[in-house]
Symmetry: C2
Subunit: 413 residues, 2 copies
């Protein structure tokens, strides 16, 4: 029998226990022998559960038990997860986590340590919940240089934007509904501010481009400023506003990385991803565009990815593939002002003729709304757009909103 | 240096050579050493190519060369591929193929032989071209019982249906255009008849449900009878007609399997998959709905999947996972008449009142077209629908077309 230990019996942790129990025969077949959680570390009292006798508050008991082959962490937050990850790997145990904060902050170090100790450090559930995307990116697409990634990486914000789009709801009302339904936290900052999506695109970019990217350095804008009118404008143009994490390799090898609400054309599958679902588009130099879609969060979907990693850790040798990423190379990140951009602008206080002087070759949306104009600029860079916007504002324009267009990253029929 | 041999230098084979050359440094990093094709078996004269000296017409030379670790087959057709696959595996070489005919016909046997010899038999490229779907299904989703799979598995027919949908083209015109653009063969039977999609859904079902499914026994309908009017009706109802390969596990454990043009509701991502792209929706009991999308054919996308398998064969131990499927169990296939179905019918020669007598609780599409009615039946079984249709026809109705609705296979926000 293969023994694992589970750190944290919250939403994801209890989902892992549920899968180990409900699908035990399947897992036994896949892993070659029974998979059982010997310890569950949680401070709370779960003694009434059928497996209540397996709870512990001692990480040392887990670390020191040679029977435990894999430690599964579902706590969230960098500490104490980081210390326990190090200690587990140092003790020669594989470590599986759903914790994107940990992976975005310490992934390079923990991957190197796992490689040194000849064990696994796996984290499929940290990006896209139940969606298989990290393993396909690392293995199935291994013949490709990845040229771009764009993803809807946060279910809470996608739920809010979907309601705003489908029902014309205001942001505050959609957020309140998300909170009511349990899709948003009482403090929704990490989600609606884009920080959660930022950690996830950093993990994806790290795998794709081989170095750590620091979430703190990635331009990150959330959806709090998106209005029902922005959403209506997007629909009129033929697209939807989605919170997108985007990473792209520039011709000179540097990487553009950002999180922002973007205007996604309707002919891109990402525009049709609704509700709490996530999707990640991955473009490779050989394969072209691929897309991975599924539930981005939730107890059993996330636990499905965690348990998939557990079986990998139990059955596959470590170190058969190269370490996916190394330390940060700050020069790899291209300053945002150099990255290409085209944007939807809503502007008040300036007539069409003057606007086209500041934004030449722009596409004006017809018909104009009362008191404002909406336009999509010609392809340019973020820096040039900043300059044009400043110049227009100096001449009296009020830019009500500016939303970057998500450009196609590869050929598509 | 790792040596491989390539059987067939057609579209896919030449794509494999192109990737080995263009991405050689990347592949060396991924595989741990250089990956080189030592032999290319093809009868035709390619001596003018830069690697023209590596061509051979002798399979024996390949089989007998101990330096060759992996044999890659990109010929198509069951013979001679099957004989060469057996001989390669018996010689202790891993075998990688893009050949869905071979895998659908002989997969169980070749998988067992590979397991016995401790080598790999891999075929990611045989389903969905460049889309990573077989490996995620086997590995990332391993914690799930698969409950359903539905896929757009043939790019040619999807191109034709997309043109019929977007431009109102007739089937014959769209087929002619596909032939002109090189997306359809001069003899398009395997594509438009649904036989290609059938092999692919059989491979997916085999992995999902653990036994071989024989394409000859799977109800298969192509798209030749689809008219512009069917397509318009589908749009009016809020969906698109797609050629779908579908496999689902019934509550009693048996499997429904079919290939047919189906009415896909617009809120399903499959409805938005256009042109020559493919997509596979996979539903698991723990994860819910996932979807994998990408180029379903083409030289470099298909070769991307082949080379991904080559790297797996070179770096991963064989037999670390259980053999994905065994021999056919004919009793596992549920007869089509028992499978649940709801359908879009176009009917002439009968008025609404009489129609609703034969198809109670159906939804009549408004407004009716000149001389015909369109309706979507209530949920039922294929057998009950057959009976109702026969009864209506006996009473004078002419059923112009009947297209099954693709039902959601899991929860979706």
């Amino acid at each position: 029998m293969k023994k694992i230990a589970l750190l944290g019996h919250g939403v994801v942790g209890s989902g892992v226990m549920e899968i180990l129990e409900r699908n035990s025969a399947l897992l036994e077949r896949q892993a070659g022998e029974q998979v059982e959680a010997k310890y569950i570390l949680d401070r709370r009292d779960f003694s009434a559960l059928p497996y209540g006798d397996r709870f512990t508050t001692s990480f040392d008991a887990i670390r020191e038990d040679p029977e435990v082959a894999v430690v599964v962490e579902a706590l969230g937050g960098v500490e104490p997860a980081y210390g326990w990850a190090r200690a587990s790997l140092l003790a020669g145990k594989s470590f599986v986590t759903s914790n994107k904060e940990l992976v975005a902050a310490k992934g390079d170090e923990l991957l190197a340590l796992a490689a040194e100790k000849g064990v696994h450090f796996l984290f499929e559930a940290s990006v896209g919940g139940g969606i298989p995307v990290l393993q396909p990116l690392r293995e199935s697409l291994t013949a490709n240089h990845i040229t771009g990634i764009a993803g809807i990486l946060n279910g809470t914000t996608n739920f809010i934007l979907t309601r705003m789009f489908q029902e014309g709801m205001a942001f505050a009302d959609a957020l309140a509904l998300a909170q009511e339904l349990g899709y948003a936290e009482q403090d929704p900052t990490a989600d609606v501010g884009g920080f959660d999506a930022c950690r996830k695109i950093c993990i994806l970019a790290s795998i794709a481009f081989g170095s750590r990217f620091d979430p703190e350095k990635v331009p990150t804008r959330g959806i709090t400023a998106i209005s029902a009118r922005d959403v209506a404008c997007a629909a009129r143009w033929g697209g939807a506003i989605k919170l997108i994490g985007r990473a792209g390799r520039a011709p000179d090898g540097r990487v553009d990385l950002e999180v922002a609400p973007m205007l996604v054309p309707n002919d891109c599958l990402l525009a049709g991803v609704g509700g709490v679902y996530n999707a990640v588009q991955v473009t490779g130099d050989m394969v072209g565009n691929t897309l991975f879609y599924g539930p981005g969060a939730g107890k059993l979907p996330t636990a499905s990815a965690v348990v998939g990693d557990v079986v990998t850790a139990l059955t596959q040798p470590a170190n058969s593939r190269p370490v996916p990423w190394g330390p940060e190379k700050p020069e790899l990140l291209r300053p945002q002002e150099e990255s290409p951009a085209r944007a939807l602008l809503r502007v008040a206080g300036m007539d069409r003729q003057d606007l086209t002087a500041f934004f030449p070759d722009c596409q004006l949306l017809e018909p104009a709304e009362e008191g404002e104009e909406a336009l999509v600029t010609a392809p340019s860079t973020q820096g040039e757009l900043d300059a044009a916007q400043s110049a227009a504002e100096a001449a009296g324009a009020r830019v009500l909103s500016r939303i970057t267009v998500l450009e196609e990253m590869g050929a598509r029929a």
